[in-house]
Assembly symmetry: C2
Homo-oligomer: 340 residues x 2
Amino acid sequence: MSHISCYAALSAKSLLSPYKIDRRKIGANDVEIAIDFCGVCHTDLHYIKNDWGITHYPVVPGHEIVGKVTSLGKEVKNLKIGQRVAAGYIGNSCQTCSSCRAGFEQYCLKGFSTIFNSPTKDLGGFAYGGYSKSIVVDDHYVLTVPNGLDPAGTAPLLCAGITTYSPLKNWGIKPGMTVGIIGLGGLGHMGVKLSHAMGAKTVMITTSINKAVDAIKLGADEVLISTDSGLMKAMANQFDFLLNTIPGPHDYNHYMGLLKVDGTMCIVGSIGPTAELNTEHLVYGRRRIAGSLVGGIKETQEMLYFCAKHQIIAEIEIIKMDEINQAYERMLKNDVKYRF
Amino acid sequence: MSHISCYAALSAKSLLSPYKIDRRKIGANDVEIAIDFCGVCHTDLHYIKNDWGITHYPVVPGHEIVGKVTSLGKEVKNLKIGQRVAAGYIGNSCQTCSSCRAGFEQYCLKGFSTIFNSPTKDLGGFAYGGYSKSIVVDDHYVLTVPNGLDPAGTAPLLCAGITTYSPLKNWGIKPGMTVGIIGLGGLGHMGVKLSHAMGAKTVMITTSINKAVDAIKLGADEVLISTDSGLMKAMANQFDFLLNTIPGPHDYNHYMGLLKVDGTMCIVGSIGPTAELNTEHLVYGRRRIAGSLVGGIKETQEMLYFCAKHQIIAEIEIIKMDEINQAYERMLKNDVKYRF
């Protein structure tokens, strides 16, 4: 973000850091990016609060990064100084395992490095993310931003966009299919736009009648209020695919009967223990529950071209960096349409 | 079973029946079968005890039926008197919905009729199953038994066989894949034989070291003791497919880390609420949990030909019909190798 200097998030400011905070030197394969915009994702807040017990303070989150190239390592051939580029959640991976070789770095068998909070071997510290003026990223993990995509609205595509694009692509969403997007937040609103652009009949599934108008504006063909048992029953066996973006534990079984035989519900929002599984919907209908995590570098680039072609960006509210704490508070109250 | 007359199971004998017990007349598309052997499945016991609240007493269970044709309706062209035939769990279905048209009557959108305990329209009562001397079945649901298959060992193929064959076939099991069969009972022992015959590296996954020798005899390439955390860790990310035959609620999450990226665990044994779902293994690895129910008529016939080709039958212990109550007691104690 051009407005502010490096931000050590929330309480981290008051912690003594045992780690060096020098930025790493630009190696032969590195790209230095001047950051123009960075999206604010719930994952950032999980790191700040150390919800997952893996945070190394001081932490600088931010993994939906759009900016311009300011410096290139000598081995980087495919980028130019001044070029509009982006970086997302994945900062590095082994590039030798079967997942990396297939272009799915998010499932790297040795574990990928996140763009922030991962060890930086050269300095012995931990990487800082996109809530900053600049960042240095290995060129394999730098995406090019196609012309015609608004840079601010593009930033959230690097996480919310690819997290929904990847499963929709993987499960072959296309015209003739019926797709349900469960939950209308940062992920859900991208899911609606992308599913619609892929040509599927797209149904917003939400508990809130208040979200119906917005959902239609975003591209939903229909809205299904999931608390209405009559509607839920009427829509049983109608969906080829459900993209479940609900961010916390919930009774996902409630939605399984909506799926056709062989249909899949893919969970992208809730990671960890959630409700008890009732296998009835799986067994009587050969239905599946799956999960999906962001997306690989190749498919992230593909997603950016797809979005350029279909003129898709995230719905955003632009804030200055010193408004981040209020932004987190509002995010927790779902008071944002749909991404900071 | 030729040894005994019609058996009204367990306590059903003492109940007054509001239903007619006449056998239906042989319609134009019906086949009358003299029953030689009938397998004993846990599902039969569920019906007898009314575990699922759907039993109509008096109930005559039995849905792994092998016998010979004794009478044919005038429209039945593909069968002959005296021919060795079989019938399984599915007694009828709509034949008009997308599932039936695709040959997956087990997922009939209007609900299929089980071969016993389903209403018989002509008589206004409920059908009786294979624990009997004879049965009348619509010809679409009658299978031919290939020459060279032992009839007694064939009977359990009609449920335990097809319940494991159908998912192995559906998920494309073939040489080069690694398949884990979880649980070594009636279903599991068929899963091992069939996966092995399909050419996959087949691993028996069991809590009991005592089952290792049997598993290898049945065709398993390896045995994984699932209570050994070191072994479980060593086998992480190794399996393309897991066939989970455990018959009751259990922590299926325990096995999910064994799957490769994009791997599937298919549940065929436990129907209903089971353990809490932890989505971590789904999200970090795009893994899937699925279910599967018996199999369609077309694939059941295909399975019988597959078994004839590979000389696969169930491991059985033959009992007389009046030993059924002891058989159920022993089944509950896992005291059968592997099917009565």
